[in-house]
């Protein structure tokens, strides 16, 4: 086992020809996009930081946070990330597209569960009057959690689209490269969620 091969992006089982070089460049370009997204998320986090305590007499962190639901959402998203990495591995080591698709569907189902839980939580917030227009704190909370949720939803569309492409065309080099980039996006969203559950929910009720 060579250290170099192990460190290569998962799914980059393309040899060392022109295709592999192109895929590496595409992945780097996708990293640039992810980093711009990181700046967006980071600044929404900063805005949230300025709005902590700005509850204007409305519902605060204690009313807004359901730790049991947050724990389940965290588990679902981490499980989804792990399933996606397993899909990347079965793609990289040519374990057949059936296996790749199964793990992709695990990842998608888990992420869908996350979105459903999040939707139920947000609907509960509306029921107790914790709508975004109630206070600065709630505006920032909805913006941050909503932005992350939208990203997960877009990721799900990506899995759907790639599933169709894999079924139609098989695991070609182009599609492998796309799955690799979607994987980076997927794991990146899990990192953002680590920030959200720690800084928004847990720190809110600590």
């Amino acid at each position: 086992m060579s250290a170099k091969a192990q460190n290569a992006h998962p799914g980059m089982n393309l040899g060392y020809g022109e295709g592999a070089r192109k895929a590496e460049v595409d992945v780097f370009g996708f990293w640039v996009f992810l980093m711009t997204d990181l700046v967006t998320f980071g600044l929404v986090f900063a805005i949230f930081g300025t709005m902590v305590g700005a509850t204007a007499g409305g519902p605060g962190p204690e009313e807004v946070t359901d730790l049991r639901s947050i724990a389940i959402q965290t588990a679902l998203l981490l499980g989804s990330s792990f399933a996606f990495s397993w899909a990347s591995l079965s793609m990289k080591y040519d374990r057949g597209r059936g296996r790749t698709l199964i793990f992709l569907s695990f990842a998608a189902t888990s992420a869908l569960g996350f979105l459903v839980m999040e939707f139920i939580d947000l609907r509960h917030l509306v029921e107790i009057g914790a709508t975004p227009q109630r206070s600065g704190y709630l505006s920032a909370l909805w913006a941050l959690v909503g932005l992350h949720g939208l990203h997960v939803a877009v990721g799900l569309l990506g899995v759907g689209s790639l599933t169709g492409q894999i079924l139609l065309y098989g695991l070609t080099d182009k599609i492998k490269s796309r799955v690799t980039r979607l994987g980076l996006y997927w794991h990146f969203l899990d990192i953002v969620w680590v920030g959200i559950f720690s800084m928004v929910y847990l720190a809110g009720v600590a």
């Binding site: 780097f28 700046v39 794991h187 600590a206």
Partner: protein, 103 residues
């Protein structure tokens, strides 16, 4: 590709270690808040340290960022972005906290 299965096993092990570490760190974060074992002022610094550790684990295991030359560009891009973000993020918090104080 006789060594492929060894390599595959090593990668699976790495991902599994990453998953276990993430679960341990997440449980530690939740336990910090739900059990209240730490004095009041310590809970939030502990949460920050646990979250940063988990982010590093995710970057290393799931996003394949490491210190090898092959990944140097990704790492530099990430670090530069974090620098920009730190300037803008801390700047925002600093200025807004200062304004709030003067209100």
């Amino acid at each position: 590709m006789s060594d492929a299965s060894d390599e595959e096993r090593a990668e699976r092990r790495l991902y599994s270690i990453g998953l276990i570490l993430s679960v341990v760190l997440t449980v530690a974060s939740f336990a910090t808040v739900t059990t209240g074992i730490l004095p009041r002022g310590w809970a939030i610094p502990a949460l920050i340290v646990l979250a940063l550790t988990q982010i590093v684990v995710h970057l290393r295991v799931f996003l394949h960022i490491d210190l090898t030359r092959q990944k140097r560009e990704d790492l530099q891009l990430l670090l530069f972005t974090v620098l920009l973000l730190a300037i803008m993020g801390f700047g925002t918090l600093w200025i807004m906290a200062n304004l709030a104080e003067r209100m």
